[in-house]
């Protein structure tokens, strides 16, 4: 094969994928930017309004409440996912049959749908028929079944519990992979030098997992900042719209109130926030790859 021919061939092979990305990602992104400058409605009609939507977003109290609630959710759940994922990875690291089964089962909820798991937990948390309440009552942790979704903080705790169950296996697997790449000679040397288990975790495993911790933090942050399914299903945005997340508020504006132009402006703002996190993530991944 002549080099000249293969040069063209290389581009030909990636051309379909490039066209697809152009048509269904890049072009819609441009359309989104344009839409955000109009008062387009799902019912039809659109006029150019310049930056009016953005000005409106600055003063939209529900949007800021939603953004702050999403941030709060992210701040609450991320350390739990990292800490628990780290712990479970340590717990199941060694390959005994029991620990392998434990790892397999911890990872199981990762593969089921977020919609399905949210409906499952919505039922478990129900005040009338929910078994989560019943277990807590039977263990004498609470006196009577709780109503989980009428107070913001309770709703946040309930959703956090359900999502921790759903995604903790992901963090665990990241850490298992990181721990297994640690050179066993370092551990052996430390053991011979008399370092106990705690010391080895603290002075060897933890420092050598910093990059994985950062990466897992960013993955969790991006995922949580884009949360929708779990809140749509479990809280419906309530009480009084206090558990709307950013994506949920965008959905609400665009497809329930038909304000596509305004929804587009909010989408652009959210995209900018996410871009910041993903750029960090890519930079971090690259640095690791080059190191």
């Amino acid at each position: 094969v002549s080099t000249r021919l293969s040069k063209h061939a290389g581009i030909l092979y990636i051309a379909p994928a490039l066209l697809f990305v152009a048509a269904f990602v890049l072009w819609p992104l441009c359309q989104l930017a344009y839409l955000s400058m109009t008062n387009a409605s799902l019912l039809g009609g659109a006029e150019w309004v310049g930056f009016e939507n953005y000005a409106k977003a600055m003063k939209d109290k529900t949007f800021w409440t939603a953004l702050w609630f999403t941030t709060r959710y992210t701040i609450v759940i991320t350390p739990i996912l990292i800490g628990l994922g780290f712990f479970l990875a340590l717990l199941t690291l060694r390959n005994t049959p029991l620990r392998q089964i434990t790892r397999t089962i911890i990872f199981l909820p990762v593969v089921i749908g977020l919609g399905s798991s949210s409906l499952l937990w919505y039922w478990l948390f129900d005040q009338q028929v929910g078994l989560f309440n019943k277990i807590l009552v039977d263990l004498h942790i609470i006196q009577a079944p709780l109503v989980w979704f009428t107070k913001v903080d309770m709703a946040l705790i309930a959703v956090t519990i359900s999502i921790t169950w759903k995604v903790i296996g992901f963090g665990m697997i990241l850490f298992v992979a990181a721990f297994q790449s640690i050179n066993s000679e370092i551990m052996e040397a430390a053991t011979i030098d008399g370092a106990n288990y705690g010391q080895r975790v603290w002075s060897i495993i933890l420092p050598l997992s910093v990059r994985t911790i950062l990466l897992a933090t960013l993955i969790s942050a991006i995922g949580s900042m884009l949360a929708f399914d779990q809140f749509y299903i479990m809280t419906g945005g309530g009480p009084r719209g206090q558990t709307f997340t950013s994506v949920y508020w965008i959905y609400q504006n665009s497809f329930i109130s038909f304000k596509l132009g305004y929804g587009a402006a909010l989408s652009i703002i959210l995209t900018a926030i996410i871009l910041f996190f993903s750029a960090l993530q890519v930079a971090l991944s690259n640095r690791g790859a080059n190191a």
Partner: protein
């Protein structure tokens, strides 16, 4: 570029076989510690499997018992009435499962048709601007698809792709494509040069080498792409909620939400849990059968 491949040389089988040179053995656990770890493992297993078991048991209760307050842990009598209700729900369960399967199948075809050649082109050819094009192909990773749904919806409505399998499958392919391309590129790159050189000596064209020599060698990559596309398409919620607003076009997750809404505000809890079971069973079976592919794929695509 990107991901954890570098931190995890044992990616192919982290969950299954890590070899016993792992940190654990060297940690020199005492007997008491081993028992303690064993006990914690059993406790964790109970916590993780508990919700699914409870849901399963609720799904086989009689409808009245499933909605009883206070609830029971174990079914007093076993009944399949909840499943029957889901089976006959509105347009019928088969319609919704059919929609979900058709959409997943189209999304898998789209991803493979686009990602296999793209991975080949990126891994096996040198041309100017390749790095830039690669970044463009991965761009969807950085732009949340949630933001793109409005313009995509408007475009699709215009050309008759709203409420269509193809329309939603395209959105799911958008979601899955960066991961698929990345994975296929790695698969093609891991094939030794000598194999390709032998093909060139035989006078094969690049397309012939792709079809006859490379394709059989990247089957694991293809399986992983298909697997992830299936699971993510089957489970995807927001795009399905927006694009499939006609009752007969619902996918399984949207049907579930609709089952919950029920009639007259009363939730049919038994039918809801039967629906949850139906929606998670395919994922669980696939995960158990193809765990090795699934976990290594997850680690490879951790950037997603």
């Amino acid at each position: 570029m990107t991901t954890l491949v570098d931190t995890a040389p044992a990616t192919t089988a982290v969950a299954a076989t890590a070899g016993d040179h792992s940190v654990g053995r060297i940690a020199g656990e005492s007997r008491q510690l081993r028992y303690l770890i064993g006990a914690i493992c059993v406790f964790v297993i109970a916590l993780m499997i508990g919700p699914i078991l409870l849901s399963f048991m609720a799904s086989i209760k009689s409808p009245a018992e499933a909605s009883a307050s206070p609830p029971t842990y174990f079914p007093q009598e076993i009944s399949l009435l909840n499943y029957l209700k889901v089976f006959n729900y509105q347009a019928g369960l088969l319609t919704y499962v059919g929609n979900s399967l058709a959409i997943a199948a189209i999304a898998i075809v789209l991803c493979l048709v686009l990602a296999v050649p793209a991975g080949y082109g990126l891994a096996r050819f040198h041309f100017r601007g390749k790095e830039v094009l690669f970044v463009i192909l991965l761009a969807p990773l950085m732009i949340p698809y949630q933001a793109l749904l409005t313009p995509l919806y408007l475009n699709f409505a215009k050309i008759g792709l709203a409420n269509s399998h193809l329309g939603l499958a395209i959105v799911h392919a958008v979601l899955q494509l960066p991961f698929s391309i990345y994975l296929m590129r790695n698969s093609f790159e891991s094939i030794p040069r000598e194999i390709e050189e032998a093909a060139v000596m035989d006078g094969s064209s690049s397309f012939q080498s792709l079809r006859n020599i490379f394709m059989p060698l990247v089957v694991p990559g293809i399986v992983t792409v298909a697997l992830f596309t299936f699971i993510n398409s089957w489970n995807e919620f927001l795009a399905a909620l927006i694009f499939m607003n006609k009752e007969t076009a619902f996918t399984v997750p949207i049907m579930l939400v609709s089952v919950r809404a029920g009639r007259l505000g009363a939730v049919d809890w038994g039918a809801l849990q039967a629906g949850v079971m139906i929606s998670i069973i395919p994922c669980v079976i696939i995960y158990i059968l193809l765990q090795k592919y699934y976990v290594s794929g997850f680690l490879n695509g951790a950037v997603k």
